[in-house]
């Protein structure tokens, strides 16, 4: 009985009004993205904090740019997506490309040989 309640108790469920639950909090896609942005902001701050106060061992000068990992992650991905998009212009073909390109030769030639 109790288990049944938990399974059925969600806002969209059609049942007797005794079981009806009001939509209290609805997590939307938008809320998830807001949480994601907050996390990213916190990460960027954390990275600067690490750089300033923990003095990690670095090999290259560009590792000391504040927020280097964030910049690297964002721009490398953006560049790769754009390059892929540009290459897709030439490389993307229809699913049956190879089958359309190579038509099976008709039997005309074979009959003549016979």
């Amino acid at each position: 009985m109790l288990l049944n309640f938990f399974i059925k108790a969600h806002p969209g469920h059609r049942c007797h009004k005794r079981w009806k639950v009001k939509a209290m909090v609805k997590i939307t896609k938008k809320d998830l993205f807001h949480a994601f942005y907050v996390c990213l902001f916190a990460l960027a701050l954390a990275e600067i904090f690490v750089l300033l106060f923990l003095h990690p061992h670095t090999t290259f000068w560009w590792e000391e740019i504040p927020g280097f990992n964030a910049i690297c992650g964002f721009f490398s991905c953006a560049i790769m997506v754009l390059v892929a998009k540009a290459l897709g212009h030439w490389l993307k073909k229809g699913e049956d490309y190879y089958y359309e390109k190579i038509k099976t030769p008709d039997k005309k030639g074979e009959e003549e040989v016979k």
Binding site: F74, S76, C77, V81, K92
Partner: protein, 619 residues
């Protein structure tokens, strides 16, 4: 007393017993060889850590010694992960009823283990080819269930591999002829024609490691395999090639550049692809790229990084292929354009797929984080700035294509109305075991580090590492969602380096079939006409000449004939046609046998007289 049992042979001989069992007994038996091989390996490893023991089986073969078993830390590390992965994958594939499919899986694993333990080049070659053929069968089993594409892809796959195998064999023979030794150790490398055997062997290895432009077989054939076959394929061929490169060419600089190119190449193509399993296939190329960079750098840290990365990669890539395979098993689809929204009805598969995706993108607390950064750190320690930057970019890109794109388009994104449940329990168990290993080795990597060939002084969990990795991945995720409109899935394929073979090769065959055959039949007809003329000439020379001359005359005069003569000419033509149609022998008179013999005797007599006279007259 047998002091050493080859784990590969456990698989190969175990395969022959599979058809003897049925139903539940078969399922139980299938798990036995992987378990036995695993116990065998654990017993083998007792007391050998820290030193590099050399115990080998030797067999004479063509006056050379075959060393079937070379056991040291490197080969043990690869053998352990191969056996472990085989156990997970066999568990995943338990629902498959076909004995022959299980047999080829076992041969494949056995071949890979044979390559890993091979102490000489001939053994290596034998197991290498066994692996190629068994893996082709795994693709063809899908063709047996009605996939025409799998049939063709299997053919292309085996052509690539036999080509690579022949080059490898040529290299091995030249190497043995020039050095006199068959031992499989590091080859001498450099620039110059005296290193040709090394180059040929290298070519054979990098073809199996799927280095562009020799990689087209991988994204072409792997996604055409059965849903369980693809899982096996993802692990063994490329990783055994990584092992052989690690053994044969450690520290060869060119591998750094090839590997870096591979990492970027795999990402770009994975972003272009629509087929979920093809995305994962390109992701293999990307991951093997990291390993090749490690081999090319060749320092102890880099070698450790490569071995650890290969170890973890086999687990999480197997896991990803398993989740893609389960989706395909349940829905029958693998294209991103027809998948989506599966998290609602396949929650467990979705969770396992996400664990695999997080591991491959090296999230902290997964095994990718404890293995892949070693290679990148090795590049930093050698002060390779550009390589380091490209590898960092590639790590972000891994998250982009395998970490987000694959699960997003398969399990989330647009709901396509597919309502299928989670796969059978054995598939879930296989995925669960692999997920457990992913997280276990991510939280507590010490067992993995103990297996590596060199002493490990790499600490994964430091605050800068963790924060840096999270921020790299987080912002690449941001880039993905911002550029999502550009990544819209289309019903397309992406052309790759096999285009010349598939288009020009097919065109060549069409050329052979049509124009070349037309020419041949034309030439054939001409020659037939000439020969028939000779035949008629031989029978009745006078008439043949007469007919030929009059035909030529008719053809020549045709143009000059006046209106008035046309009728007469026509009659003449008709007569000629009739003359042609007459039997050739008709005007000949048949000669009785006696007369013929008399004529022959007279001819002989004449011949005798001439000979005698010649004898008198000659000086």
């Amino acid at each position: 007393m047998i002091e050493w049992i080859h784990p590969g042979l456990i698989f190969i001989f175990g395969a022959f017993l599979i058809p003897l069992f049925k139903g539940k007994w078969k399922q139980a038996y299938l798990l036995l060889p992987p378990t036995a091989a695993f116990i065998d390996l654990l017993a083998m490893s007792k007391g050998v850590f820290g030193t590099i023991p050399y115990s080998a089986w030797h067999y004479p073969f063509l006056d050379y010694e075959l060393a079937l078993g070379r056991v040291d830390k490197l080969s043990l590390c690869f053998a352990l992960i191969f056996t472990l992965a085989a156990f997970c994958m066999v568990l995943y594939a338990l629902h498959v009823k076909s004995s022959s499919e299980h047999m080829s899986e076992f041969f494949y694993v056995g071949g890979a283990l044979g390559v890993v333990f091979a102490g000489d080049l001939f053994t290596l070659y034998i197991f290498w080819e066994l692996m190629a053929i068994a893996s082709m069968l795994l693709i063809w089993f899908h063709a047996g269930r009605g996939s025409e594409k799998a049939h063709e892809a299997g053919f292309r796959y085996i052509i690539w591999h036999l080509f690579g195998g022949i080059i490898l064999l040529g290299g091995i023979i030249m190497y043995v002829a020039s050095t006199g030794s068959t031992a499989f150790n590091a080859f001498s490398c450099g620039w110059g024609s005296e290193y040709l055997p090394s180059y040929l062997i290298f070519f054979g290895f990098i073809l199996n490691a799927a280095v562009p432009p020799l990689h087209a077989w991988l994204p072409d054939a792997y996604p055409e395999a059965t849903c369980t076959g693809g899982v096996f394929l993802s692990a063994f061929t490329t990783k055994s090639a990584v092992y052989t490169l690690l053994r044969g060419f450690p520290g060869w600089e060119i591998l750094i550049y090839l590997g870096t190119m591979m990492t970027i190449y795999g990402i770009i193509y994975a972003l272009l692809e629509n087929d979920a399993r093809r995305i994962l296939a390109y992701s293999i190329i990307n991951q093997v790229g990291f390993m090749l960079v490690g081999i090319g750098i060749g320092t102890p840290l880099a070698i450790n990084g490569t071995a650890a990365h290969a170890f973890c990669h086999i687990i999480y890539k197997g896991l990803l292929w398993m989740s893609a395979g389960s989706v395909m098993f349940m829905t029958g689809k693998s294209k991103c354009t027809s998948l989506g929204g599966l998290y609602k009805t396949m929650p467990l598969t979705c969770v396992f797929g996400l664990i695999g995706a997080m591991s491959i993108s090296a999230f902290p607390l997964t095994n990718g984080f404890t293995s892949k950064p070693m290679t990148i750190m090795a590049a930093a320690n050698e002060h390779m700035g550009i390589i380091w930057l490209l590898l960092m970019a590639a790590s972000a890109g891994v998250f982009l294509h395998a970490g987000i794109k694959f699960p997003y388009f398969v399990f989330f994104a647009k709901d396509r109305g597919l309502r299928v449940s989670d796969p059978p329990i054995n598939q879930l168990l296989g995925m669960g075991l692999a997920s457990f290993l992913c997280i276990f080795l991510g939280v507590y990597p010490q067992p993995l580090y103990n297996l590596l060939p060199y002493q490990v002084d790499f600490v994964a969990y430091t605050i800068p590492h963790v924060v840096g990795m999270f921020s790299l991945l987080g912002f690449s995720g941001l880039a993905f969602f911002m550029l999502l409109p550009l990544l819209k899935r289309t019903r397309t394929i992406a052309l790759d380096t096999d285009w010349p073979f598939r288009i020009l090769g097919a065109k060549f065959i069409i050329f052979c079939k049509e124009p070349l055959m037309d020419f041949a039949s034309w030439a054939d007809r001409g020659i037939k006409r000439i020969s028939s003329y000779f035949a008629s000439f031989g029978r009745n020379p006078l008439r043949a000449i007469q007919i030929a001359l009059s035909t030529m005359m008719v053809k020549a005069l045709r143009t000059f004939v006046l209106e008035f003569w046309w009728r007469v000419f026509k009659y003449y033509e008709r007569d000629l046609e009739e003359a042609k149609r007459l039997p050739l022998d008709e005007p000949m008179e048949s000669v009785p046998l006696g007369t013929a013999v008399l004529l022959i005797i007279i001819l002989f007599l004449l011949y005798l007289v001439i000979t005698l006279m010649y004898g008198w007259l000659a000086p």
